[in-house]
């Protein structure tokens, strides 16, 4: 199970759609977790990009990394996700490292490829002068994916539309 966090506070950005598409490319069912006030119709459109379920908690502040970490950790555990995908943006950079520690899950920042057969993921290193192949040693992975990795138009054509369930929850945060 792949869990994708998207920030829908100000609608769905291009990077949010890319992140869902990336999650779908990992090959398992994709559940999206989000917060904020985006309408159910807007969130349902994520089905076009590969999500099979959206879980939204409208009580969580969109900018508070501690609350978001607790929300995502709680949802990841309840749906049995073994991989969590973020955009490589301000919120992703604040929340993904926290989640990595909370779940003791390896974090790959700035992924520019989907995992190879051996489980390695390419990332840019040395400020773009080279690329590294990183693998996660822990059983749970927390990918931190890069916005520029994908050609959105091309990917969307590959994604089959699915009937989407938007589920509203209010997590009991610890």
């Amino acid at each position: 199970m792949i869990l994708v966090y998207v920030n829908s506070t100000n609608g769905l950005s291009k990077s949010a759609l890319e992140t869902v598409t990336y999650g779908k490319k990992l090959g398992a069912d994709v559940t999206v977790v989000t917060n904020g006030n985006a309408s159910a119709d807007l969130l349902a459109s994520l089905g076009e990009y590969g999500a099979s379920k959206v879980i939204v908690d409208r009580s969580v502040d969109g900018e508070d990394a501690q609350q978001l970490t607790r929300l995502i950790a709680s949802v990841a555990q309840s749906v049995g996700a073994n991989t969590v995908v973020f955009s490589h943006d301000l919120i992703g950079k604040a929340v993904a490292p926290r989640l990595s520690v909370r779940l003791k899950a390896g974090l790959i920042s700035g992924a520019i490829s989907v995992p190879e057969a051996d489980g390695t993921v390419k990332v840019n290193v040395f400020s773009g002068k080279a690329m590294g192949a990183v693998k996660v040693n822990s059983s749970k992975e927390s990918f931190h994916c890069c916005q520029i990795a994908f050609n959105l138009k091309f990917q969307v054509q590959l994604v089959q539309l699915k009937k989407l369930l938007v589920k509203e929850v209010q997590q009991q945060l610890k």
Partner: protein, 246 residues
């Protein structure tokens, strides 16, 4: 205010990037190491400015081997009061972050500053990880930091504007360009750095959660293709079939 600044070594920005052992290790031959610029120019200098304005103490911490002490002395020469080296060779951000968090937990700091990322691994991970391990608020990529008592006011760039964030201390902040101006250590600072305390701390047992398996160099850029302004058909053909952008 008691401030902890996390520093890391990174290759000089002019270093040639190459790999050895079947492209599994960075080739350190002829490489000069420096304090990671984001840690030095922004995190450390801003910490010193805060201390100069309101008093306090600036401690630098790094996770590294004895060979890294030259880099630590440079940070002391810029003005830090004392240094701590956690004696280990970090293999991933989680390992380094937990080591620093364990040290900070025992010694108690009002503010922990990191650079926004290192220029060798570009991960942007350590600050957030330290914050979670200590259950502290974390503000990433801050470009401005003001201190008023126990309240920190930070600014960071977001799409379409600047976001102002307020947090209470203790907190963790990652510092980006704009936070401060680079300082060049003067002779007095360099001499004083030799006698400033540098404590070596034993690491705690932590597992690496990730590892780098190999490295590759990017493909060489192809030559520029010049298309005649009269030949729009060829331009469209190349953009469509070769560059695949339309």
């Amino acid at each position: 205010m008691k401030i902890l600044v996390c520093i890391s070594k990174s290759p000089d920005t002019t270093s040639k990037v190459a790999f050895t052992d079947g492209n599994t290790k960075f080739d350190e031959n002829g490489v000069q190491y420096i304090v990671n610029p984001y840690d030095e120019w922004y995190a450390l200098v801003r910490a010193l400015e805060i201390k100069e304005a309101g008093g306090g103490q600036v401690t630098i911490v790094t996770v590294g081997a004895a060979a890294d002490e030259a880099v630590i002395r440079k940070a002391l020469a810029i003005g830090a009061d004392e240094a701590v080296r956690i004696d280990a060779d970090p293999k991933d951000a989680y390992y380094a972050a937990i080591q620093i968090a364990e040290y900070a937990k025992v010694n108690g700091f009002d503010l922990i500053l990191t650079g926004k990322e290192t220029i060798n691994y570009n991960g942007s991970q350590v600050g957030g990880m330290i914050a979670e391990a200590l259950d502290l608020p974390f503000v990433s990529l801050a470009e401005k930091l003001d201190v008023n008592g126990t309240t920190l006011t930070l600014e960071r760039e977001i799409v379409g504007g600047v976001q102002v964030v307020e947090v209470s201390t203790p907190a963790v902040v990652s510092c980006a360009k704009g936070m401060a101006e680079q300082r060049i250590p003067n002779m007095r600072g360099i001499m004083a750095a030799r006698t400033k305390p540098l404590t070596v701390v034993a690491p705690v047992a932590v597992e690496d959660l990730t590892s780098y398996v190999s490295y590759t160099m990017p493909n060489a850029k192809s030559a520029v293709k010049m298309i005649s302004p009269d030949n729009m058909d060829e331009l469209v053909e190349l953009l469509h079939n070769e560059a695949k952008v339309i």
